[in-house]
């Protein structure tokens, strides 16, 4: 009896396997996969990003697609888990996939080799492997508009400006609170190099995943080391306890700067009034006043098609999802100019990424003027300008408190990137391709 029931269950499961045969993409649509996360410890931050990403493509489809080619978007939930990410990638990869959005530094690392072999571009926008901005070694990986190394440099640059110049950094203390993973470790090398160059002392403080508890860390920062400035590389659940504990030891909020992944509404609202004055980097606008985002509201949300709640539109992470989608759409648009206005393969879209030239005029026509910086990508440089600005939380909104800050790419970061890329090429036995 028992056995029979189980046998039936097994049969059902087997039937399900066969039913799982893939739904082929319709030939006239451009396929865009999304490796998002809507479950797991990092879901609160993953959800708005995923909603923005998907809403943007819905908006483009409502306007007739990219040059008449509709976008087919499919999502897979990685739960910020590396092996689930690999499974999702294998599930969604197909020759017509436009670009992979891993949304996790760990998953990006795991997918670089695979995607390169499968000839699908990876767009790790403001995360991932910094060395991958060297296009000669990583032809399929794009890190625009900025990398963590640029982010670290921008933070130090901003601090220097506030202290009245780089020469005043000597003897100052700068601490880094970071998520103890591939993601959080990225800026350390840059900050160490900068510490040596400018003579400030650098104090790294790792926080173990997921980072619910940081009391000991903040007792050290707030009561013992007492750094002049603190930078944070935190993600998801780690951010709001950091802000709360910082407030609990009386650390001044306006001297606490997070990377762009530590500066969203989800991070500051749980800390309430304690978070007022907290700063973070960002590389795109917030709010809904941009024409493209107005289009999302009217064409998607008013039509009852919104992926998430309407109030979420215009928040930091939602807008970042929009920006990510817009860049991919623009790469498709550029590639269409080179290979024809039909659904393209990943390899062809990579050409679009490498020829990406989003100038002010183009931003205007995309409805994103003032939303983001112009981006120019070349065969060798997959990062672009690497610029970002500092924003501050005033209790209800993120307001910019600085101009776009330029990282010292040519003098400091680019040689480091090229060195790291060359090391990678040597380890993997890759011959860097010649550009130009």
């Amino acid at each position: 009896m028992k056995l029979k029931a189980l046998g039936l269950a097994a049969l059902g499961a087997a039937a399900m396997v066969t039913a799982t045969a893939f739904t082929a993409t319709a030939a006239d649509k451009q396929f865009v996969p999304g490796l998002m996360y809507r479950s797991g410890p990092y879901a609160p931050n993953g959800i708005p990003f995923a909603n923005g990403f998907s809403d943007y493509f819905k908006m483009r489809n409502a306007k007739g697609g990219i040059n008449g080619v509709e976008i087919e978007y499919e999502e897979c939930d990685t739960a910020y888990n590396n092996d689930r990410g690999v499974e999702c990638y294998e599930r969604l990869k197909r020759p017509g996939a436009a670009a992979i959005t891993p949304l996790s530094t760990g998953i990006t690392y795991a997918l670089i080799d695979r995607a390169t072999a499968d000839k699908i571009p990876v767009l790790s926008m403001g995360y991932g492997r910094t060395a991958a901005s060297d296009g000669t070694v990583f032809p399929y990986v794009f890190t625009l508009p900025a990398t963590y190394w640029s982010g670290a440099d921008i933070i130090v640059n901003y601090i220097a400006k506030n202290e009245g110049g780089y020469e005043n950094l000597k003897g100052k203390k700068i601490a880094l609170v970071y998520h103890d993973s591939a993601y959080g470790k990225e800026p350390i090398a840059t900050l160490e190099a900068l510490a040596e160059k400018h003579g400030f002392s650098f104090h790294p403080f790792p926080v173990a995943h997921p980072g619910l508890e940081q009391k000991a860390t903040w007792l050290q920062i707030g009561r013992q080391v007492r750094p002049d400035w603190t930078a944070m590389w935190g993600w998801g659940v780690m951010n709001s306890p950091a802000i709360k504990e910082a407030a609990a030891v009386g650390y001044p909020m306006d001297r606490f700067i997070g990377i762009w992944w530590s500066g969203s509404e989800q991070d500051v609202t749980p800390a309430g009034a304690q978070a007022v004055g907290y700063k973070s980097l960002n590389f795109h606008g917030t709010g809904t006043e941009y024409p493209a985002i107005q289009d999302i509201l009217t064409l998607v949300h008013d039509a009852g098609n919104g992926t998430g709640p309407r109030e979420e539109v215009g928040t930091v992470l939602y807008n970042r999802g929009v920006m990510n989608a817009a860049v991919i759409a623009e790469a498709i648009h550029t590639a269409q100019g080179m290979h024809g206005q039909t659904p393209l393969t990943g390899e062809q879209i990579r050409d679009g990424f490498e020829a990406l030239n989003i100038d002010e005029a183009r931003l205007e026509s995309m409805g994103l003027a003032g939303f983001m910086e112009s981006i120019q990508i070349t065969c060798a440089d997959h990062e672009g300008t690497g610029r970002a600005f500092v924003q501050q939380w005033d209790g209800s909104n993120w307001t910019p408190v600085s101009d776009w800050v330029e990282p010292n790419r040519s003098g400091l970061l680019r040689p480091m990137i090229e060195q790291a890329a060359a090391d990678y090429a040597a380890e993997k036995g890759i011959t860097p391709r010649a550009c130009n």
Binding site: A43, D180, R223, S240, V249, G250
Partner: protein, 338 residues
Amino acid sequence: MNPTALRFGLWLLVTPLLIAALGLGFKGLAAVDSSLFFAWGYFIEVLIAGLLQGVMYSLVALGFVLIFKASGIFNFAQGSMVLFAALTMVGFIEMGLHWTLAFVVTAAVMVLLALAIERVVLRPLVNQPHIILFMATIGIFYFLDGFGQTLWGSDVKVLDIGISKAPIIVAEGVFENGLLINSFDLVAALVGAVLVAGLAVFFQYTRVGRALRAVADDHQAALSVGIPLKTIWAIVWSVAGIVALVAGIMWGSKAGVQFSLALIALKALPVLILGGFTSIPGAIVGGLIIGAGEQLAEVFLGPIFGGAIQDWFAYMLALVFLLFRPQGLFGEKIIERI
């Protein structure tokens, strides 16, 4: 005189002495403050923070102890019960209930949950080996995680019951920079103390409490004197559910109510083995030792090893204690027969 009473008596005698010694040390320490390799004020500050943090761990560990004591089940789902309780409470508050009312309703939900677990999961598994029951609770863990999020969503939720989070600085004249104590942690410690006292009274002086202790001592004997085992289990799981709710409120208002809250179960495990699986005072003492130990280690040893050592340090500390007392500090002596 029974050994428990003796132990309590000893504690009562020793505690004032300890406090006096601490006070004396306080005076003496001030004299050598900052002249040693680290500031004593800072050391004491970390110690206090650690002890208070330890009480927070004890809150979670208590739930484990209750269930293990009465049914011998190592309930891994305690962590997700904490999360589920906190999520439900926030959900009711968002519906417009006052938080005290929400507390009562959530407590009722937790009791229902306990009844359901007893009926659906535990009853069919009576007399199975411990490891099977342990796995079943991991199954419950997954189920509750998914269920809670399906019901209430995965956003970070704010749970504010009006406890001040402002730092208090005391003894400013004694130490350079004074001693920083978090007022929220103080309240949490107080709640923990009240909860433990309440549970102790419940176990010691009520009829149900006596029945619970009888079941904990010997299932068979308890059954043969007419104690209904299933009812007792349902009661224990309900009490554990309410303990989870209290822990959920404290942790939730500290760190925000979100999925990761379920992971604090992992912080309660070293507390549990150090104190012994079967002892309520053990959970408290274990919490204090682990809390203080790991915070001190992270602050004073962490920089030597590169930081983030507190997770494994707690387990190592518990392991060292176990090597000397394999049943934990307050656990029942393990007697083996052939």
